[in-house]
Symmetry: C2
Subunit: 426 residues, 2 copies
Amino acid sequence: MTIVPRVIIVGGGFGGIAAARSLAGTNADVLLIDRRNHHLFQPLLYQVATAALAPAEIAQPIRHMLRNFKNVRVHWDEVTAIDRTKRTVETSSGRSLPFDYLIVATGATHSYFGRDDWAKAAPGLKSIEDAYELRHRILGAFERAEMEAHGPRRDALLEFIIVGAGPTGVEMAGAIAELARHSLVRDFRSVSSHCAKIKLVEAGPRILASFDAKLSAKAQKSLEALGVEVLTSTRVTDIRVGSVLLNNEPIDTETVIWAAGVQASPAAKWLGCPADHTGRALVDVHLRLPDDDSIFVIGDTAALIPKGATQALPGLAPMAKQMGQHAAKVIKSRLHGQAMPDPFRYRNWGTMATIGRNKAIVDLGRFKFSGFLAWIAWSFTHVSLLYGFTNRLSVSSSWIWSYLTWQRGARVMLISVQHNMTDKEA
Amino acid sequence: MTIVPRVIIVGGGFGGIAAARSLAGTNADVLLIDRRNHHLFQPLLYQVATAALAPAEIAQPIRHMLRNFKNVRVHWDEVTAIDRTKRTVETSSGRSLPFDYLIVATGATHSYFGRDDWAKAAPGLKSIEDAYELRHRILGAFERAEMEAHGPRRDALLEFIIVGAGPTGVEMAGAIAELARHSLVRDFRSVSSHCAKIKLVEAGPRILASFDAKLSAKAQKSLEALGVEVLTSTRVTDIRVGSVLLNNEPIDTETVIWAAGVQASPAAKWLGCPADHTGRALVDVHLRLPDDDSIFVIGDTAALIPKGATQALPGLAPMAKQMGQHAAKVIKSRLHGQAMPDPFRYRNWGTMATIGRNKAIVDLGRFKFSGFLAWIAWSFTHVSLLYGFTNRLSVSSSWIWSYLTWQRGARVMLISVQHNMTDKEA
């Protein structure tokens, strides 16, 4: 009897899926565990939150994506602990699953920098539920403003504050501006949606700090042309229900969106291994724990500091994907008794961000550009990265339809009306 | 100064929307209030529950549907009471809205025949949240079965019981059978989805009792060909978490779907008016309260017993629509000082139900037919009744794609894994 090596992958994001695909066809028994049934294309999640896309257009059942790989199984279960001595993964369904190799790819979550009490008033955007919650708050603010007379109460309902000017914050701000100025405008009677105010708040000196300074200046100009007020060097000093303090100045608002900080999932805690200040597990050049060459940590939950660099690699989808492929390559070399591959090296094909329709910035290293051409490049890249022909077709048609009609196809709110206490005070 | 008559419509279903449209262009100020932001095409809701369609394909923002009618406003608010003396509608946002004419079109909800404790174990299907909940339970049962070894635990997970064999129950049973036998089968490793058991339970002597006996026999045959076990003259005597008693015989199951009873919304209670045994307000031939000719009750929440009949009209979308139009006609005749229209008469264009792909039954009164042709008729009718070109296009393409590939496009579950207590006992 031959012994079948068991590989467990925790997490079905870009890293986990890439690892599973790379291990397909080997003699290993591969088990991918995720607490959700779907893989999510997070780069477009802000479009679900702003009612441009439906959830099913950017999510795919993990099981379906891996159906053709006969040595790969999928469990819909939640990992609660990892036992490094017994070499098992413990789950919330009460299972204890043994592994020979383990790949942890559990991603990141929001960080409120120690102010977790802000989470209720200022939700972030990581899952489809988050997107529905934000959609509910954004569309609901317009709905509630429609019932109000002119005055401070209505102004607060039409005040949208986005905290953090990374790609997600910039994209959200642009999308809300378009929603307010174009898509919704004809549907309301009392509210002219032009009176919506959108503020993008950034503690640092400029938006999109990971991009070239010229590109980030262009992005700021495009945002301002859409009517977004960009407040750099501005700190959020407190967030309460109904108001926000910016540099200690209070602003009344009903909608605050958190796009400022991320922290790693608790993988490092499960593994009892050293982590950086955002909770990411420190890994060696092959993405393994320094003291265990069968346990890999990849993607947003790993901190790999490249040789000569002072900072760990950023949390981006292509990086997670490449890390997943690398971990699989290392495992395959061990399974087949081959030489180890070269150390992991992140191949940066470029970064991009979009600012509403028609505008984007693209940074390919030597080659940087912005404007309409960048927006076309952004659109094609994102459609081509989606999983499956039907999603590509569906997202493309939704975009073309929105482009031509200025409409949003996905304005359904799940939750029925729930009035805040502030409504009744009015 | 001329006095503008105020019409309030409560509810944005088929009845409320039809009334609002019919009142467009008059000199009345029309206000439609709904606690959801969307109108829902309920006849296709079972396809959202069984992952064939996405919610946005059958739901439309009410505000958007009525955007061109300048004398119609929309409030996203929840009615909590009606004050007939003060002539106002009270809402959960604390508003008190005066009316000269009132149209109540608040629809129906599930009835558990006095056993409301069954609701948790056997949810019904009325809203998009309900559809997500059922999708979660149905797909989740397969997911959990995948992790189990052969045995009674897995059998219970693959046992699906649908209570009530009206159109919704029949359509759900057919859709689950196809999901199990075709759409999911390649995606699982341990579970062969062929072993799923689907039981359709009906207390009466035959399924689809509102149809001709021959058609209902044909529908039963088609269901059985799909692998559905049809249990007529079978009473559900109890429902608990993990099991159901059918004629006092226990059956272990994790998924029970309630499609048996409906009761009207609490409109009759708000109005303090006489109601039938399902809570529907008794109305006169013009759909008004007998003692108040400015208050109309329409659709599923009205009980109109036609002259010479013993039973009130059934709760169907076309009936609600026609009632909405009639109520508007009566109001218009009063606004313009014209003669009253003829009493309301329901024009029954026919009824239809579908049983999985390729099969349906159609009853046009004199002309009855079933099979593939009926299914084509069913499909075209439902697509043409949807609101808006984009939804028609989207549903048609989803159906054609599903037809050709046997796949389901909307298998996203919102909720992350939550294991029942029964999992851990196993």
